[in-house]
């Protein structure tokens, strides 16, 4: 082996193009196989559309269309009635990775990183060579802008291939994006169909019109005209910050002193608490943030952990609400019983969050297989990595037998039931970048279990009541069937008319249900698992003659 000089090595050191990066890391962004790529593309476009509408306080109406162009190629069209995008920003939003408005703030929005839609444009470009076509019209302008966009894979800058003003008749404002991409359309649990259906469940204020590649149109109509409250932006809570982030914040802050930095950049830190943090960190309150070294930052970090700080405010979280969540479920699942609950807001690591759960039981659902689980984070359905998710874990560790479902130890319950769990937070902790599974924080699992127990209890009392009613009916029907027989036999014995006896007995039956005493154990017609022995007639004790 010959040694290489630094100069030689330097020849090989260069910028990595984002195209190469994307190619190597597409699994992180949800484009690892054709089926998932199609779903991710729709998901990113719809998430963006909904976020935009809600931010502008417009009731969303989203049109999704998939057209099959060849065996492996699809065209995705997503059009919303959102506020539109000003001409200047269109290229940046759609054709530049890591550009966006949501990355720097802490609020319960769907998108968080500014990767999604531009990654989709890049994926389409890499697999088909075609540009994305964006049409957008803000309410203020009369004409819409149409652009054909590509991303320069060397520089991560937008390339505008074509731009023109068009009339967009019948549309006051909105945005439409068309992307050709390689994909595969398969129905099932992890399909575009399922994603849109579940989106409709947790976004009851949204109308989605979906045309699938088979040209079948489905309309998920909104069930409420009430927009969810606008997600409030909050400053970070000291407990939720990591050392690296703390150092970054110290670097960019405009505060002149450490004391000021603490009170202005964090929530729940007043002058008193700030002073206490400084004392616990052995740092002077007047230190300039710019002069804080790494060692000092570490002291500050430890000082924060030692200080008692009030939990962050939770009014920045806007859950769907038990009622609306149940409405959403009713709309999409044909069942006989629904219930839901919203837990009070709590905090994990300085981040406020709320857990909601809903359940649909019976109806057309399969009773023999495991329950269907629907997981949501900030109103977005999670379709992949069910096994790795904290929600799945919490469902498995809840004792569903108490609530009338079958379940073997620590596994998913079995029964004709769907369970939906929604978590909303300013920062949802995912296990990875692809945002498909919730991380296993004990505080979060505990809250999910509490929510599940609440809906479970409601389910249990429904199933019990139903069983009681059917038992009562069964009992009555036993007598109804026996009466003609008894009347017939008695008529033969006594010579009294059968009809008269039967009528009198039926009258007794309908008038006095309390005549009907329940001694189940001796009755062969009823097949029960639990039999209690209380009968006076002990047939088994009769001995052979």
């Amino acid at each position: 082996m010959t040694q290489k000089t630094a100069e030689e090595l330097a020849k090989k050191q260069r910028d990595i193009s984002i195209a190469e990066f994307f190619e190597k890391n597409r699994h992180l962004l949800g484009f690892d196989n054709p089926r998932r790529a199609l779903l991710t593309a729709v998901k990113e476009a719809v998430d963006n559309a909904l976020d935009a509408c809600e931010e502008a306080r417009i009731l969303p109406e989203v049109n999704v269309e998939l057209i099959q162009l060849s065996e492996t190629r699809y065209r995705m069209i997503v059009e919303d009635n959102g506020p539109g995008i000003v001409e200047k920003q269109i290229p940046n939003i759609f054709a530049r990775l890591l550009y966006g408005s949501k990355f720097h703030k802490l609020a319960a929005t769907r998108g968080q990183q500014g990767i999604g839609i531009s990654a989709t444009v890049l994926y389409g470009q890499l697999t088909t060579g075609k540009p994305a076509m964006v049409t957008s019209k803000p309410a203020s302008s009369k004409k819409a802008t149409l652009m054909k966009l590509k991303i320069d894979t060397q520089t991560n800058l937008p390339q505008i291939l074509e731009e023109q003003e068009i009339d967009w008749s019948g549309k006051d404002h909105g945005t439409r994006i068309e992307i050709d991409l390689d994909g595969s359309y398969i129905k099932g649990r992890q399909s575009v169909d399922e994603y849109l259906k579940e989106t409709a469940v947790v976004n009851p204020h949204t109308t989605i019109i979906y045309t699938n590649p088979e040209a079948i149109q489905t309309i998920f109509a909104r069930s409420t005209n009430q927009l969810p409250p606008e997600p409030k932006e909050i400053k970070p809570h000291p407990y939720g910050i990591e050392l690296g982030r703390l150092m970054k914040m110290l670097e960019i802050t405009e505060a002149k002193t450490l004391h000021q930095f603490l009170t202005s950049e964090f929530v729940r830190v007043g002058p008193g608490t700030a002073k206490e943090i400084c004392e616990n960190s052995s740092l002077l309150p007047k230190t300039s943030p710019k002069h804080i070294s790494r060692e000092m930052a570490e002291k500050l970090y430890q000082g924060i952990q030692k200080t008692k700080i009030i939990a962050p405010p939770t009014d920045c979280i806007s859950p769907i609400g038990a009622e609306d969540l149940e409405k959403g479920l009713r709309k999409e699942i044909n069942a006989e019983f629904y219930c839901s609950t919203t837990r009070p807001a709590t905090v994990y690591r300085g981040n406020p969050f709320v857990v909601e759960a809903a359940l649909a039981f019976g109806g057309e659902q399969d009773a023999e297989s495991t329950v269907r689980i629907m997981r949501f984070a900030n109103r977005v359905p999670l379709l992949y990595q069910q096994g790795a998710c904290a929600i799945t874990n919490a469902i498995q560790n809840t004792s569903w037998k108490n609530y009338g479902l079958q379940q073997s130890r620590n596994s998913l319950p079995v029964g004709s039931c769907s369970i939906a769990v929604h978590i909303t937070s300013v920062w949802v902790p995912f296990t990875s970048e692809s945002k498909e599974a919730l991380a296993h924080y004990p505080e979060i699992i505990k809250e999910i279990k509490l929510a599940l127990q609440e809906v479970g209890r409601k389910l249990g009392s429904y199933i019990n009541k139903k069983r009681r009613v059917s038992e009562q009916q069964e009992r009555v029907s036993i007598f109804e069937n026996y009466i003609p027989e008894v009347a017939g036999a008695l008529s033969k014995l006594s010579g009294i008319e059968k009809q008269k006896i039967a009528e009198s007995m039926n009258k007794m039956l309908s008038k006095n249900k309390e005549f009907i005493q329940a001694h189940k154990e001796a009755h062969k017609v009823e097949i029960r698992k639990k039999k209690d022995v209380e009968g006076q007639i002990k047939l088994s004790e009769f001995e052979d003659d």
Binding site: F479, N481, A489, G495, M508, Q517, D545
Partner: protein, 360 residues
């Protein structure tokens, strides 16, 4: 037993229930409980007797509805039989009652023990035996001896019935004894043993009557034995296997059975004697080599026998139980054949009776 005619009693039962219903009251019948918990041993009569515990069967009770219906169905069948002067077997009654209730998958009776049980209920309700209600058991028994009887106008000579003997009907109430030449009756639980004795003309040599059933002693046989014992003062000797079940056959004959405690008076044989096989016979007749080891059920049954009230104070029997327990084994009557095919005829039985070697 009541003096009223069976048909009238059944009609009255039906009328009473119909009236209750027309008056708007839920129909009920009250039946004494036929279980060990409601059985008492009457030391004066030496028989088992039904206690006072009663079970109410209310039609409007899910657990009772079906039994209630079954009892009425059986009553209706019996009334029909009585009206037409015909007899039906237990099996016949089962089929006459069995049908599916319209619009359901429920059968009035699913198998014969259910209808048999309903018939026993009817006996208790009407205080008439099932024979009086024109319902008969299957006949299962043979008899031979120097006896002439009259049954339904036919004269029958028990000594001239060929190799099969006269088969005992289930109802023996109407039989008249014309001539009885016998010193005792030998009753055995095994038909095969009866055939051996019959071939050897044991009844002629010993001046006795031999009678058998296959397994359980039927009511007809018990009643016939009782009539021979009461009307002709014959001693009844019982020959059964050396095992808990054989002992229990004797127990039923002598004291009555739990199931039929309500008719103990017309069934029991106070003078019955257990001739063999006893634990002492195992020793005296060298049968040890032919013992069969106990199974769990045998030990359990033996324990039950030991604790029956009517055996508790009987030292002879408790001694037998103890010896059987220590042997932990049983033996069949046929074990005697190991000593020669006619050993039982020529040696065992004459010797036992001569020595008065029996247990009471």
């Amino acid at each position: 037993m009541t003096n009223k005619k069976p048909k009238e009693t059944i009609q009255e039962l039906g009328k009473r229930l119909a009236k209750e219903i027309l008056a708007g009251r839920p129909p009920k019948v009250v039946v004494p409980i036929r279980a060990l918990s409601n059985i008492a041993f009457n030391k004066d009569t030496g028989t088992l007797q039904l206690g006072n515990k009663k079970a109410e069967r209310n039609f409007f009770n899910v657990a009772h509805a079906k039994k209630f219906l079954q009892t009425l169905e059986v009553a209706a069948v019996s009334k029909e039989l009585l009206e037409e002067g015909k007899h039906a077997s237990l099996r016949d009654v089962f089929y006459m009652v069995k049908r599916t209730i319209p619009n359901t998958k429920i059968n009035i009776v699913d198998d014969q023990p259910e209808s048999d049980d309903a018939i026993e209920d009817l006996e208790l309700l009407t205080e008439h035996s099932r024979e009086q209600l024109n319902i008969n058991a299957n006949k299962m028994g043979s008899v031979a001896g120097q006896v002439v009887i009259e049954d339904k106008g036919d004269e029958i000579d028990w000594s001239r019935m060929g190799s099969g003997g006269w088969s005992i009907p289930s109802n023996v109430e109407e039989i008249k004894f014309k001539k009885v030449k016998a010193k005792y009756v030998l009753y055995m639980e095994k038909a095969a043993v009866w055939e051996r004795l019959h071939e050897d003309k044991f009844w002629e040599k010993q001046d006795c009557i031999i009678m058998s059933s296959q397994g359980q002693t039927t009511r007809g046989i018990r009643r016939l034995l009782q009539r021979l014992s009461q009307e002709h003062k014959l001693t009844i000797y019982v020959l059964a296997d050396f095992d808990p079940w054989g002992f229990y056959i004797y127990s039923v004959l002598k004291f009555g059975s739990i199931n039929l405690a309500h008719m103990a008076e017309s069934m029991t044989l106070n003078t019955a004697k257990f001739l063999g096989i006893t634990a002492d016979d195992i020793e005296n007749y060298e049968l040890k080599k032919h013992l069969i080891t106990f199974k769990d059920v045998d030990s359990k049954r033996l324990e039950q026998l030991q604790n029956y009230e009517w055996f508790k104070d009987n030292k002879q029997w408790q001694r037998q139980f103890k010896m059987m327990k220590s042997l932990k084994a049983k033996a069949e009557i046929q074990a005697l054949s190991s000593r020669g095919i006619s050993f039982i005829t020529d040696k065992y039985l004459p010797e036992k009776i001569k020595k008065q070697d029996w247990i009471e």
